[in-house]
Every structure is written in structure tokens, then in C-alpha cells.
Amino acid sequence: MAQLLEQFINGLVLGGIYALIAVGYTMVYGIIQLINFAHGEIFMFGAYLALMLITVFNIPFWIAVPASMLLCAMLGMLIDLVAYRPLRDAPRLSALITAIGISLVLQNLARMIWSARPRLFPTETLPAFLVSEVNMQTGEILNAIPLPGGGVLPYRDVCILLLAVVLMIALNRLIYLTKIGKAMRACAQNRVASNLMGIKTNQVIAVTFAIGSALGAIAGIMVGLSENITPTMGYYKGVAAFAAAVLGGIGNITGAMLGGIIIGLAEVFGAGYISGGYRLAIAYIIMIAVIVIRPSGLFGKSTGTRA
């Protein structure tokens, strides 16, 4: 039982991260029907930029996080401006191939700048409560909440979960309660008509990229806190998050959040109870099973034009 609870929390934490990334895929898809494969790389840049701000410019962690989100939002908008905007009316396949190209360019750029060696946030630069470690003599764990049955929940994971929930709610409110949110929903329904109604669609799309990228960046930093930072980290996490977006019904934000949680839980339970050698495979099997039964995903609307 204790193990079950701990695994469930492991799954939620991972799922929360996937949800944050998946939202970026799904928002862009909802508006311009483009699978932005470069999104995983923005996630990776989020982690690297925060690391650079902290280690090279000696900026405190709490300032580096929003700064990295801001930089990634700008990077997302720049990618849209340079790579996708000129192809807005081109066949969808052209934009898709461009997205894959941008992803490769960014990944190799990261390799050139920061090398392929894995990096981590130096422990001493992080706020103390984000670093938990067991005391080898007493078995006591610093900065963590003990769970019934011997499990532990590090404060860091609590922060990740809380932050994921808060950001998701904020995003939901933004989309349903603000003017820009309304414009985004309008563009998702019909871009041409929105344009005719006086909505500056290119600006709306840029804002969509900015929001998605900022969420991706903070997910990257969260992953960097407990795992390592490498130029390929965006690929592995990006693929899983993309599966989450598809599972939830690509284009649907609630679906992406839920899809993220499902994939996270499936991965952790698969690895914990079946075999760790196939953790992603198990997540994919679930995704495929859902897609077979509901081709448009859990929350997707079935339309004839979806690829």
C-alpha cells in the first residue's frame, strides 16, 4: 500500500511536468494545426538558460526561473516569426518538416554551445528546501514530508505539483476570462473569419507560442532539478508529452493536462510494477489503445480534416 501511494505521487509529479509540456503542443496545434516539434527543444533551452543565468551570471534561482521563461517565450515567438509565419498558407506538410528542421537545429546548437556532457544545477545555488537527501546515519530525510509506510515526498516534488496545478488553472482562466484568451479561442475556431472580425491573428499566434514556450521552459527547469540537463532531454520528454497531447485530443487544453497525468502515471506504474526496460513503451500502448477506441483522443472533437 505504502509503495502504491509513493508510486502514485511519483506518477503525478512526472505527469504534471508532461502536462505542462503537452499544453504547449496542443495550444499551437489548436490554432494553426501545426505539430511544433521544436517545442521539446524549447523545454531543453529553458533548463539550459536558467542554468547559464545561475552559473555564469550569478543570478539567484528565483529570478533566473522567470527570466528563463521570458527568454524562452521570446525564443518561441522568434521561431514562429522566422520559420512558421512565412509558411502560414503553405501546405501543412511544409510547416511540419520545417518544425522538425528547427528542432534539429536547436538541438545541435545546444550541443555546440554546452557540449553533450550532462549538467546539473549546482546544489549550492538552489534554495535549500529544494534539495533533499537522506541522512545516512539516521535514515532521516531532509526537506521532505514523510508518507505513511516509510515513503517520502520531497518538498521539491510538492513545489512541482503545486506549480503545475497553479499554472494550469491560470492558463485556463486566461483562455476563458481574458480578451486575448477569447481571441485565441476565436482563432482556433476559424482563423480567416477571426481575421475578418479584426483580430490580429499573427499577434494572437505569437502570444500562443510565447505562453506555450514559457510553460515548457519552467517544465525544463523542474526536470533539471531532479534529473540532468542534456541537449537531447527535450527529445525524450517531448515525445512523451506529445503522446499525452494526442491522448487527450490534440488541440484541447484540458485534454492535454489530463493526458499528461495519464501518461505520467502509466509510465511510473509500468516501470514500477512491470518492467523498467519498457517504461515509455507502456505509455505508448495506452495511448494507442485510446486512439484506437477514440481516434480524436479523450477530449478531441472528431472532424474530418484532422491528420
Binding site: A2, Q3, E6, Q7, N10, G11, L14, R111, S115, A116, R117, P118, L120, T123, S132, E133, V134, M136, G139, I141, A144, G150, G151, V152, P154, V223, S226, E227, N228, T230, T232, M233, Y236, E267, V268, F269, G270, A271, G272, Y273, S275, G276, G277, Y278, R279, L280
Partner: protein, 400 residues
């Protein structure tokens, strides 16, 4: 009109690019067949095992420099070609094809490092007949499967057995162990050897969990392992993943003793795991502390050339390049065909089959059994103390 011009420019550019290597090749073959001998050094220079590749490159470069400064091989210069397999079998096949099809007339291959890569490469090397001398692959099959593959370190059949006996005989307060292994040729093979020996000597094995290479999140498996409450966890994998496992394990409240094998023997393990690395045991085929005066000399020269301390893999590669040099010195015949010369290297290595015939290098005496395996080299145990690898107090000399 403008499009035509751009098109013409592109055609012109491409044809210029296309011509260059052709010209170079022509001049180089005429000039160099007599003056240069080319050996490929294949290792993971990028990817998650890049820290190993870096040391392999440095070790090889040091040996190359020393050989050429001492007048080369029978007056011919030794040139090393560094080929990157990124630690992946699929890349290793491509690298192997590139090596055997290269117009540069490569006479032998030092590498690969990862067992998966050595296995993938040897299918191609066997077809052409070129020696693959690995300074790092320890999976048992690597040498069994090919007459052209040799290695100058122990294999995992020995290492797995050694680790099980060390835990049983030296770390006597450990009663139960769990294995956490990388699901590739190296990790699986080593795990199997360890498990077989643990069962034989009655070490209580409570869990065996797998992970995929390049995984970064091990919490699910660690939670399962923790539930079984083992006294020690043996990580059968490479340093990047092992570093994260140790770090995430300590975060999850695991107080068990961590034990790694030679795949963990890289300074990068310490960087990745941070303070959680403290007290981790690992086995390694060589330590400079155990080496003689030649090893000390090599260590000093290495520091002078590269500015860093050499590790195990730098030393083993240094020796591997030395063995190829010795083979070339004794057998190379400029008149003979490249195939015959490659074959002669194999024959020479295969003839080093007794301690008397063996090659005396910085990592000790190397001689081969019928498979091309080195069976005489011992394993050393290191422990992480104050953020450094140091030799463990108690070593195990004889296996039962």
C-alpha cells in the same frame, strides 16, 4: 531569371565541394602509402558516454605523440582517425562501414568502448578482416563471437563474479542485494554474471530492476527496490545513469550501500551524483595506485599534455595503441596488400597467448586466450571518499 542564377550558383558550389575530396585523396595516396600508418580509434565522443570517449581520445593521442616523437613505426608516422559511435550500436555499424570502406587504408581499429558498439561493429570488421582491439567492452560475447576481436581488460563473466564475492566476503554486513541494470548488452550481461554467482554463493537477491539507456527518471524503479529493503544495490550500467540513480535514490530515502562496476568509473559520475556519491563502491580493471613506474611516468606525461589526470580508460587505450604499434612494427610490409597486413596484425595479437609472449604495458601484462580475451588481469575496488575515487581499504585478490 533570378531563380536560374541561384540554381546555377548552387550547382557550381556543390560541384566545387564535390571535387575537393577527390583531389585530396589522389595526392594523399601517392604521398603517404609509404610514410603513414592509419589506425582508427572508435569510441563515444558524443552522447551520454562522452566522458569515456574524451579520455580514450586523450590516451590515444598521448601514445601517438610518443610513438611519432620516437621516430614512428619503422620510420612511418602513426596517424589516428577518431571515429564517433555516440555509444549506440546503430551508429557503430555506420562507423564500422566508414572505416572498412575508407580510402585511407586503415590497418586496425582500437575500440569500440560500449559492448553494444563492439558487437555491432565486429559484424562488419569480420567481413573485411580487420582487428578490433577494445579498451573497454566487457560483455562476454564480444570476444567469443569474433576471431578478429581482442580486448586488454577482463570480461563481465569475471567482473560479475568478482563483485558478488567481494560483497559476500568483504562487505560482510550485507545480507541482501538488489540489482538495477541497464537493459543493453553490457548491463544485462554483467547482471547475469552477478546473479549467477550470487545464487551460487548464497547471497540473497531480493530485486532485479531494469532501465533503458538515457533514462533520467528512476524514481519508479527505486521505489520498488526500496520496498524490498535491500542492504546493497548493485548498479550494472554506465556513470550518467548510475549518478542519477544514486542521487535520486538518496532523495527517495534509500540508505542501502550502492555498488557499481567499471561502467561507473568516470569522474563524471561524481559530478552527476554530487554529495550522494559518497561511499559508493565500484570495480575497475586498473588504478594508477596499483601501477608500476611506467604507469607513473605515463600519468605525468598525460598531465603535461592534457592538463588533467588520466583515468582507467585513458591507460587501457594507451596500451591498446601500443599493442597495435608493436604488431605493426613486427609485421607491416609495405609491399604486401592491405588485406594481408591487416591479417598479419591479427596473427601477431593471437600469438600473444602466454605470459612470456604477452605485452607489458602500463596496465600490466596483457596476453590473450583462444577467444582474444585477457584473463590474467585483476579487478580493483574503489570507493568514493570526500568526492574522490580512492582505492578501497580491502581488496579481493583471489576468487573462489
Amino acid at each position: 531569371m533570378r531563380n536560374w542564377f541561384v540554381g546555377l550558383l548552387i550547382v557550381g558550389f556543390v560541384s566545387v565541394l564535390g571535387c575537393q575530396p577527390q583531389d585530396k585523396k589522389n595526392t594523399s595516396t601517392t604521398q603517404t602509402t609509404q610514410k603513414e600508418l592509419k589506425v582508427a580509434v572508435a569510441a563515444p565522443y558524443t552522447g551520454s558516454a562522452a566522458a569515456f570517449g574524451e579520455m580514450i581520445r586523450r590516451g590515444a593521442e598521448l601514445r601517438q605523440k610518443e610513438i611519432n616523437e620516437a621516430g614512428g613505426i619503422n620510420g612511418m608516422k602513426l596517424t589516428l582517425l577518431f571515429e564517433d559511435d555516440a555509444g549506440k550500436g546503430s551508429e557503430a555499424s555506420l562507423v564500422a562501414e566508414r572505416i572498412v570502406n575508407s580510402p585511407q587504408k586503415i590497418v586496425a581499429v582500437v575500440g569500440h568502448f560500449n559492448s553494444t558498439c563492439s558487437l555491432a561493429g565486429q559484424e562488419i570488421y569480420d567481413r573485411v578482416g580487420i582487428v578490433e582491439l577494445s579498451p573497454g567492452s566487457t560483455a562476454v560475447e564480444v570476444c567469443e563471437r569474433s576471431p578478429w576481436t581482442f580486448r586488454n581488460l577482463y570480461h563481465d563473466g569475471f567482473q560479475g563474479k568478482f563483485i558478488a564475492q567481494y560483497i559476500d566476503n568483504v562487505l560482510t554486513d550485507i545480507e541482501s542485494v538488489a540489482v538495477f541494470f541497464d537493459n543493453d548488452d553490457y548491463g544485462r550481461g554483467l547482471r547475469n554474471a552477478f546473479v549467477a554467482e550470487a545464487e551460487r554463493i548464497g547471497l540473497n537477491l531480493v530485486a532485479s530492476e531494469a532501465y533503458e539507456r538515457d533514462s533520467t527518471n528512476f524514481k519508479a524503479q527505486l521505489t520498488s527496490i526500496k520496498a524490498k529493503n535491500p542492504d546493497a544495490i548493485f548498479i550494472s550500467g554506465l556513470f550518467t545513469e548510475a549518478g542519477l540513480i544514486v542521487k535520486q535514490g538518496r532523495e527517495a530515502g534509500i540508505t542501502a550501500q550502492f555498488f557499481g562496476a567499471d561502467g561507473v568509473d568516470s569522474p563524471d559520475f561524481l559530478t552527476v551524483a554530487g554529495s550522494a556519491a559518497e561511499g559508493t563502491y565500484l570495480t575497475t580493471p586498473f588504478t594508477f595506485g596499483a601501477g608500476g613506474t611506467e604507469a607513473k611516468q605515463m600519468e605525468a606525461n598525460f598531465k603535461a599534455l592534457h592538463g588533467v589526470t588520466p583515468d582507467t580508460w585513458a591507460a587501457l587505450t594507451y596500451d591498446a595503441v601500443g599493442m597495435i604499434k608493436e604488431a605493426l612494427e613486427k609485421t607491416y610490409n609495405a609491399e604486401a596488400s592491405i588485406e594481408d597486413n591487416r591479417k598479419a596484425i591479427r596473427e601477431h595479437l593471437a600469438s600473444l597467448d602466454t605470459p612470456e609472449e604477452g605485452y607489458e604495458g602500463v596496465t600490466g601484462l596483457t596476453y590473450f586466450d583462444i577467444n582474444g580475451d585477457t584473463v590474467n588481469k585483476p579487478a580493483y575496488v574503489k570507493i568514493v571518499k570526500d568526492g574522490q575515487f580512492v582505492a578501497a581499504e580491502k581488496q579481493l585478490r583471489e576468487l573462489k
